[in-house]
């Protein structure tokens, strides 16, 4: 029964891969689509030469550095804005004004301010991550059930205790939803910045492979990007599970 279930889950991806390989070998597909076997070969080659691990490490470092800066600011400012009406009134109009603008459009301006390479990419990722993290944090604090806060205060908890033991845990599920969206954003922005102004990293590996007509290398870069995006999401979800034991019942994240 379990084997059958596994087969049902795997049949579509495996079938697609086999179809890809077979059509490429039969010469139906154009060469730029490469083939799974040659991609695996290039994957092994680039891993042994150290190019792929180096590029992945560099891209991960940029994405995480930007993510931590942007998400850190987003969570802290979001929590403050959720608590203080004055801060809220100051930040809200600015956020609603800047939020609909895709942050990637600032890429070329950032390139001129921070120079080509890692600093401008980290800054851009941080900017792109800030908004999807800030907005949920701000709403999460506001939507904490007031009864919990009153109960805490009634039992004599000082404001700091109420904040860390009542408000933050109650806001945490929504906070994690924002972090997840922010994490997804960071990879999109990083990819575009490495493709447009980059000289290193996975995005550059993809462009480089494409320009050298080594389409297998291009696909290795794509696979590498998919891997770091997917793995980072899983790590965040694992953190979420351990942080929110018992709070995740019936939510979307439970399934995804």
């Amino acid at each position: 029964m379990n084997a059958r279930l596994a087969l049902e889950k795997l049949i579509v991806p495996i079938g697609l891969l086999l179809l890809w390989e077979a059509t490429q070998r039969a010469g139906v597909l154009p060469t730029y689509l490469s083939s799974p076997s040659s991609i695996v070969a290039a994957l092994v080659e680039l891993t042994e030469s150290g190019e792929l691990p180096a590029a992945m490490a560099l891209s991960l470092m940029r994405a995480y550095a930007g993510f931590f800066i942007g998400a850190g600011l987003g969570v802290v400012l979001g929590l403050i804005a959720g608590l203080s009406q004055g801060v809220r009134e100051f930040i809200d109009p600015l956020v609603s004004f800047l939020y609909p603008i895709p942050k990637i459009t600032f890429l070329l301006i950032f390139l001129l301010i921070f120079g080509l390479g890692t600093p401008s990419q980290i800054a851009l990722v941080a900017l792109a991550v800030f908004f999807p993290v800030f907005i949920p944090s701000r709403y999460a604090v506001q939507s904490v059930n007031q009864l919990y806060v009153w109960s805490g205060q009634n039992m004599g908890a000082p404001p700091m205790t109420v904040f860390f033991r009542v408000i933050v845990p109650a806001a945490a599920p929504v906070l994690f939803a924002g972090l997840r969206v922010g994490l997804a954003h960071s990879f999109v922005v990083l990819f575009a910045s490495e493709l447009i102004g980059g000289r290193s990293g996975l995005g550059f590996l993809i462009v480089d492979g494409e320009e050298a007509v080594r389409f297998d290398i291009m696909f290795v870069g794509i696979v590498g990007f998919a891997l770091i995006g997917f793995a980072s999401d899983r790590v965040l979800m694992a953190l979420r599970r351990s942080a929110l034991r018992g709070q995740a019942i019936g939510t979307e994240e439970q399934l995804v």
Binding site: A177, V181, F191
Partner: protein, 258 residues
Amino acid sequence: MAAALRFVRKWYSIPLLLLAWEICVSTGAIESRLLPGLGAVWAALSGEIANGVLVQHAAVTVGRALAGFALAAVVGVPLAAAMSRMPLFGRMFEPMFFFGYPVPKIALFPVFTFIFGIGSLSKTAFAFIECLYPIVVTSYLGIKGIRSRLLWTAQNMGADEITILRRVMLPAALPSIFAGLRIALPLAVVVVVVTEMIGDNQGLGYYVTIWSTRFRFANVYAGIITIGICGFVLDQLLGLFRSAVVKWEKDQPRFTRV
């Protein structure tokens, strides 16, 4: 008077920011080539709207984004319905969508350009694939989450499958379908702009890139503002559409939007 005061308290930070910008520029505290004065930005914006250049690029971008988005909605919602109503089908496609969800689809950009060329087709295809994931996942979870009691009640009253679909399942799933659409629509705009920035000769992403490389930053900011306006208007329209269709439930705060 009190209303006016409330209005000022609610919005004062935007003029404050603009004032700070203007002061920085006019005192020369920040290199003015990167930060043109507000007057220059306004001149660029109004001029380029009046002569139709920005309008034309905006029409290209919005057209691509909407085409990809609409296609994703037309394909995604029935797919999600089929996945949740046919268990085998659901088991077959669930991994594809749940594992593919956190994968950055943008990495496929070179492949898409090879297949669909550099023009509108590849941009629309990209918007489609980016929108498809949130639409399918949220609709799927929404339809799966319909309480069986509702379906049993309808079956008990002798409703056939089509009637159940139309009168019970669709209304029950609409809020989550719209939640997915609301995540997808801004994504479509972002993805189209990004791909236009990487390579194209029209659209707002192209407009912003070309004026950046020419160091005409008043035009760059005019383009960025136009993109923001397009995204904002599209989102508002979808919100209006939602409240016209889903009359029985108030919209939730949009904190899960991308």
